[in-house]
């Protein structure tokens, strides 16, 4: 019997009971749609994380102190947090090959006031290089300059969130705000950067020269510092990473590589990718279970259908259908349910993913890969769960089937 005839027979028997066929199909539709949506959301989340990591800047290397290793070290008297010094930044910039920029970063926070408006924001004491490393753009006004850093001028640039909360209607440029009651002149406003990979607002920030920050704001506070470095190219990163580590060890007597953490953007991206991939797999597995349940639904209905049609099978066998013909007929019916269900599921899943993306402002991504995966999976489900009922049909005893009432 030609495949075309079998497909025709399958369509006929499926349309004979459209409600039942549709309900059976629904299991597969929901399953495939769920897989597609979950994969799209997972991929979308990954894309966002990747974008956020890229927004850190280009070829960035982050140098911090490993507090766990350095506590109680030879230099414990100065406080392990201050193991890194401004001189280290100069050394890295001057003696490590392939370094474009380096900047110390002091992080603190505090109350900021402007004419009765109050706000709390993160304050970062940085060098002018920081703007280049993090690719920080000025939206209005101007940044601060090397001279400001050298002289320790009380100037700053503020992020969008800070600007919005302190200055509702007025232009912040040129105004003086008070950070912990110390007046700072606002030189400019930064362009929006959005959230970072960890979900915190990168626009809720104030940048000031590190010299000023150190002298005026840190006081007796925690004077921990990290160093942000930018390598000239992707290829240089790994080498520079090692050179920085070696340099810091030689500059600080009694330290080992354990005392410093030198991470690259790639390291962070990989860690984040691992997390988002795990999330994607988890989501898709849960959705996959519903696809499996849909498959069991097909098997159930096919078994009912075989029992209902024992006589038909007998008649077909009597007029010349072989076991193979009967087997194929029922498998193709099952595959058609799962395949058509799969196609509908793709469109439904695609729509659902777009809707979720629209309302959550996520960039969801329905990849050809996820479509192929769920289509082939629904085929396999059809064959797998159609096999047993079809086998049952094809091994019926002809006379028993014919005489079955």
């Amino acid at each position: 019997m030609s495949l075309f005839s079998i497909i025709r027979i399958a369509i006929k028997s499926l349309t004979r009971n459209t409600t039942r066929t549709f309900l059976t199909m629904l299991g597969i539709i929901i399953g495939v749609a769920a897989v597609i949506t979950m994969l799209a959301i997972g991929q979308g989340a990954k894309k966002i994380v990747d974008e956020q990591i890229n927004s850190m800047g280009t070829n960035v290397i982050i140098v911090t102190v490993n507090f766990a290793a350095s506590s109680g070290s030879a230099r414990g008297d100065a406080g392990s947090g201050s193991l890194l010094e401004v001189a280290d930044v100069e050394a890295i910039r001057n003696s490590v090959d392939g370094i474009l920029y380096a900047s110390p970063v002091y992080t603190t926070g505090g109350q900021i006031k402007f004419e009765g408006q109050n706000w709390r924001a993160g304050i970062m004491g940085v060098d002018v290089d920081y703007f280049n490393i993090r690719d920080m753009q000025i939206e209005s006004g101007e940044p601060f300059y090397r001279s400001d850093v050298v002289s320790g001028n009380k100037v700053c640039v503020i992020g969008q969130t800070v600007a919005a909360n302190l200055f509702s209607n007025t232009d912040p440029v040129g105004k003086t705000i008070r950070i912990r009651n110390i007046p700072f002149k606002v030189n400019g406003v930064l362009k929006a950067k959005g959230q970072n990979a960890m979900g915190s607002d990168q626009d809720d920030v104030i940048l000031a020269p590190y010299t000023t920050t150190y002298a005026r704001l840190l006081g007796n506070h925690w004077r921990s510092m990290m160093i942000l470095v930018s390598a000239e190219s992707k290829e240089r990163i790994a080498l520079a990473q090692q050179d920085i580590l070696d340099l810091l060890q030689s500059r600080h007597r009694g330290t080992t590589s354990e005392h410093f953490v030198v991470r690259t953007q790639t390291d962070i991206a990989q860690a984040a990718d691992t997390v988002s991939n795990t999330l994607t797999i988890l989501l898709a597995s849960i959705a996959g279970i519903s696809l499996l349940v849909g498959g069991i639904g097909i098997m159930n209905i096919m078994l009912v259908s075989v029992t209902e049609r024992i006589k038909e099978i007998g008649i077909r066998m009597a007029v010349g259908a072989g076991k193979r013909d009967v087997l194929l007929q029922f498998i193709i019916e099952a595959v058609m349910i799962s395949f058509i269900g799969g196609i509908i599921g793709i469109f439904l899943g695609w729509g659902a993913a777009k809707t979720v993306g629209h309302y959550m402002k996520w960039s969801v991504a329905v990849t050809p890969w996820s479509v192929m995966l769920s289509v082939s999976f629904s085929w396999i489900i059809g064959v797998f769960f159609g096999w047993y009922p079809a086998k049952k049909a094809s091994t019926l005893n002809l006379i028993d089937a014919l005489r079955y009432e």
Binding site: R316, A318, V319, G320, G322, K323, I399
Partner: protein, 249 residues
């Protein structure tokens, strides 16, 4: 020229049901020649249905040999049996066995869909020819539940002859029909016989068997009588004598 079509030698069928062995057939030797119209008679339990199943390749014998149109059917594979059923035998059953929700045309076409390499036009031609032979072509696109019993049986006969089988096997074809419709069906059978078809008819009604030209009687799994019917009744003639009680259409 008499050409043997069916030859069975010591055909035995024993059903095993738990500890009990039921000897349905106890050694059947028979030769059926091309062009014969045979009625197999016997009470229920005589083994005639079992014999028909073996003859129709619907079942396999416990022992003995069966040759159909030169093929040793008793020794061939299950998958080849399906081919024999398709190409060599046309079945007519008591309760028609048409596929429901499938038109008369599609029911008749069914054997052509399996195992044949006919294209759509050839299939259509054969199907229409079969429908015309039993004079049911005007009902080709009706569903079985829209047809009377006699019409359904004619569709079934059309299905049986569509693939030009070497013989027709009819199992109580008039059993579910009233007298007049039964005779109508027998008239169709006799017409086919007159065109040269070999027909094996299983029945327990003497009136129906009287239309055949050879009568074989079964009892307790054995043939007890095998005689020529030199003067078979003519169904077409009988039909003229029967009053039309009510029109079924």
């Amino acid at each position: 020229m008499v050409k043997p079509l069916i030859i069975t030698k010591d055909l035995v069928k024993t059903y095993i049901m738990g500890d009990i062995h039921v000897h349905a057939l106890r050694g059947i030797d028979i030769q059926i020649n091309e062009g014969e119209f045979i009625a197999i008679m016997g009470a229920s339990g005589s083994g005639k249905t079992t014999f028909m199943n073996l003859l129709g390749c619907l079942d396999k014998p416990t022992s003995g040999s069966y040759s159909l149109d030169g093929i040793d059917v008793h020794s061939i594979k299950e998958s080849d049996l399906a081919r024999i059923r398709n190409e060599k035998i046309g079945y007519v059953f008591q309760s028609f066995y048409l596929l429901s929700r499938t038109t008369a045309y599609e029911n008749v076409e069914l054997p052509l869909l399996y195992r044949t390499k006919l294209n759509h036009e050839e299939r259509k031609a054969k199907t229409l020819l079969a429908l015309r032979t039993v004079a049911i072509e005007d009902r080709a696109h009706h569903y079985p539940n829209q047809l009377s019993g006699g019409q359904q049986q004619r569709v079934a006969i059309a299905r049986a002859i569509v693939n030009s089988p070497v013989f027709l096997l009819a199992d109580e074809p008039t059993g579910n029909l009233d007298t007049r419709t039964g005779v109508e069906v027998m008239a169709v059978m006799q017409a086919l016989h007159n065109q040269g078809k070999t027909i094996v008819l299983v029945t327990h009604e003497n009136d129906i068997a009287a239309y055949a030209d050879r009568l074989i009687t079964f009892r307790d799994g054995r043939i007890i009588a095998d005689q020529k019917n030199t003067n078979p009744r003519n169904a077409a003639e009988d039909l003229k004598k029967l009053p039309i009680i009510e029109d079924e259409d």
